[in-house]
């Protein structure tokens, strides 16, 4: 469970996050949506201690993040940051085994248990057959899966994913989202992810948080949060949200720019 209290984060004097109060409940898949620059990534970075808040607090499982030890925090919460193009010259297996780092003391070697965890992470992500490959040789999708495998090897209770599907083709996007759901359902991990695709968020999340200009616009179950008014006010698009006959889940059928927005850009 992650909870923030009046969380404010500033960058060069400008509040990127403005007094945010939000609760990510235990055991669910959460998605954060919002237009570019609304503070989604900043929120995720602050939740994972990559950034410090100006004021307010972040609590992870009841304990303020600044009170966690560095390694015990990493055993509890893993974050997959946005894809970096720079890659390193190591084997996939080595990369994934770095996920065991927070579980090990100074100079402690990996034992059988660690190897099992690493192997399991490789299998879950479908990377087992590529374990001996060099990370540099991988495609974008494989590299992303390798990094997720590293996060899984951390055995966190909470997994934060910052735009995990960016740069991936549709099939790989769905693979990543399926994996996130699997980790949630089977391994009971709480997932918090930043997504761009609204339909992905609708079909894979238990809760959706919508952000706008550094504030929480709305937060709740997908059917409560995603509606035509929200899309108009937050994303400036005119859309048609429909209910699927099969299972009653929502999907966004059509989208077009609001006229005034188009004029602004022209």
């Amino acid at each position: 469970m992650i909870r923030t209290e009046q969380l404010t984060v500033k960058y060069r004097g400008h509040a990127v996050l403005d007094q945010i109060n939000v609760l990510f409940e235990q055991g669910l898949v959460h998605s954060i949506l919002g237009p570019n620059g609304c503070g989604k990534s900043t929120l995720l970075k602050t939740l994972s201690r990559q950034l410090k808040g100006e004021s307010g607090a972040v609590y992870v499982d009841g304990k303020e993040v600044k009170d966690w030890g560095t390694k015990s925090f990493a055993r509890h919460l893993a974050i997959l940051s946005q894809v970096q193009e720079r890659s390193i010259d190591i084997r996939v297996h080595d990369l994934v085994s770095y996920g065991r780092f927070p579980h090990k003391g100074w100079m402690q070697k990996l034992d059988d248990e660690d190897i099992k965890v690493v192997q399991n992470a490789l299998e879950l992500t479908g990377m087992a057959s590529l374990a001996n490959r060099n990370v540099q040789e991988l495609s974008g999708g494989e590299r992303q899966r390798a990094r997720i495998a590293m996060a899984i090897a951390q055995q966190p209770k909470l997994l934060l994913l910052d735009e995990p599907t960016t740069y991936l083709d549709l099939c790989h996007q769905l693979e990543i989202l399926e994996l996130a759901r699997h980790l949630n359902r089977v391994q009971k991990m709480t997932i918090v992810m930043v997504l761009h695709d609204l339909n992905h968020a609708l079909s894979y999340s238990d809760r959706i948080t919508v952000m706008k200009n550094g504030s929480i616009y709305s937060h709740g179950a997908p059917c409560e949060v995603v509606n035509e008014e929200m899309l108009r006010e937050v994303f400036h698009v005119e859309a048609c949200v429909e209910k699927l006959d099969v299972d009653g889940s929502l999907f966004i059928k059509s989208m077009k720019l609001l006229l005034d927005k188009r004029r602004l850009m022209g």
Partner: protein, 340 residues
């Protein structure tokens, strides 16, 4: 940062390849030491050398080996280890394949402080290495601070290093000009060389080599985590800033002790780790020992070549390293330019 051809990557990931590389590197290091012992104005046979070490040889041969060549060879080996490890660590910290204690100005910082002690307070000669360490650490931090702007970019590190190096270099030149009478072998210091290095120099550098090597090896896994980038390293529970500071200090100590013995010897710290990386990959747990062994081989072999190539003139080894290193530096620069 590094791109090796697919075949090379395929081949060197096997364990047997790594073991083979270590055996070859160890042999190469031994060969360098033996080569250094047998070669010179007086050719000494291997059997005679064995006799010297077992105490069965007296007279001039014993003097040559025991008092001149053997300590010098050992100093070369240790300096090779120090500069190679310092280079490997700095390349990781600065995320730059061209980071070498000499190029990025850590050596000149060490040199300026070391020389200042030597000429201004000659009575406190034993403070030379600690002072050089402060200079090295200071310049490393300075370069880092100058190059820092929302993260460190490889290019900026080199430019900041050039500036810092030029700044400290002119300080060194000024000291050597004003106190030319107090510094013998000023040229040797500037170029970097091993002539007339003997047991006292070995004593000076040995503790730092041991401490620095131990620390480097203990930090290997942390270096690996750090190479993932700051965000991922933090996410894995590494104290990123603390690790970077400690490793920089270790690299500064290693290069400072080398500088206080052999002067501003350049390019060893760039060529050796790079070659080691091509051979064994970027895993620091393997890279560091490989670089250390290769450093021993490179410095002993090239110092011996420097001694025997133009008899009776003895070249400072720094000249050879510069002649080889500068083109290599340009090669790395071009290669990197194509990737970015």
């Amino acid at each position: 940062m590094y791109t090796a051809s697919k075949a090379v990557v395929e081949f060197r990931k096997t364990v047997s390849w790594r073991v083979a590389v270590f055996i070859i590197l160890a042999c190469l290091a031994m060969a360098g030491i033996v080569f250094s012992l047998v070669s010179g104005a007086v050719q000494v046979g291997i059997i005679e050398i064995v006799d010297v070490f077992t105490g069965q040889q007296d007279g001039s041969v014993r003097d040559i080996i025991w008092n001149i060549r053997f300590p010098r060879t050992l100093v070369a080996a240790l300096v090779g280890v120090n500069l190679s490890l310092a280079g490997a660590l700095l390349q990781g910290i600065m995320r730059n394949a061209m980071a070498d204690p000499h190029i990025i100005g850590v050596s000149s910082g060490a040199g300026l402080f070391g020389i200042a002690v030597l000429v201004l307070f000659p009575a406190y000669g034993y403070l030379m290495t600690p002072a050089a360490f402060l200079g090295a650490l200071g310049s490393a931090v300075l370069i880092y601070a100058l190059a820092w702007q929302n993260g460190v970019r490889p290019g900026r590190i080199i430019l900041a290093g050039v500036a810092v190096s030029a700044f400290f270099g002119s300080g060194i030149s000024a000291l050597l000009t004003f106190y030319s009478d107090r510094v013998d072998g000023a040229l040797l210091f500037l170029v970097g060389g091993l002539s007339a290095k003997s047991w006292p120099h070995l004593q000076l550098v040995l503790p730092y080599t041991i401490a620095g090597t131990l620390f480097a090896l203990l930090s290997a896994q942390r270096m690996n985590i750090l190479m993932l980038g700051d965000a991922d390293a933090k996410g894995l529970g590494l104290h990123v800033e603390r690790t970077r500071l400690w490793v920089t200090a270790a690299a500064a100590l290693l290069s400072a002790s080398a500088v206080s013995v052999v002067g501003l010897l350049g390019f060893v710290g760039m060529i050796v780790p790079h070659a080691a990386r091509l051979l064994v990959g970027s895993d620091y747990r393997i890279l560091l020992p490989a670089a250390a062994l290769l450093g021993i081989a490179v410095l002993t072999i090239f110092d011996t070549l420097a001694r025997i190539i133009f008899p009776p003139v003895e070249l400072p080894v720094g000249i050879i390293m510069g002649a080889l290193g500068a083109p290599f530096f340009l090669y790395l620069l071009r290669k990197r330019g194509m990737h970015e």
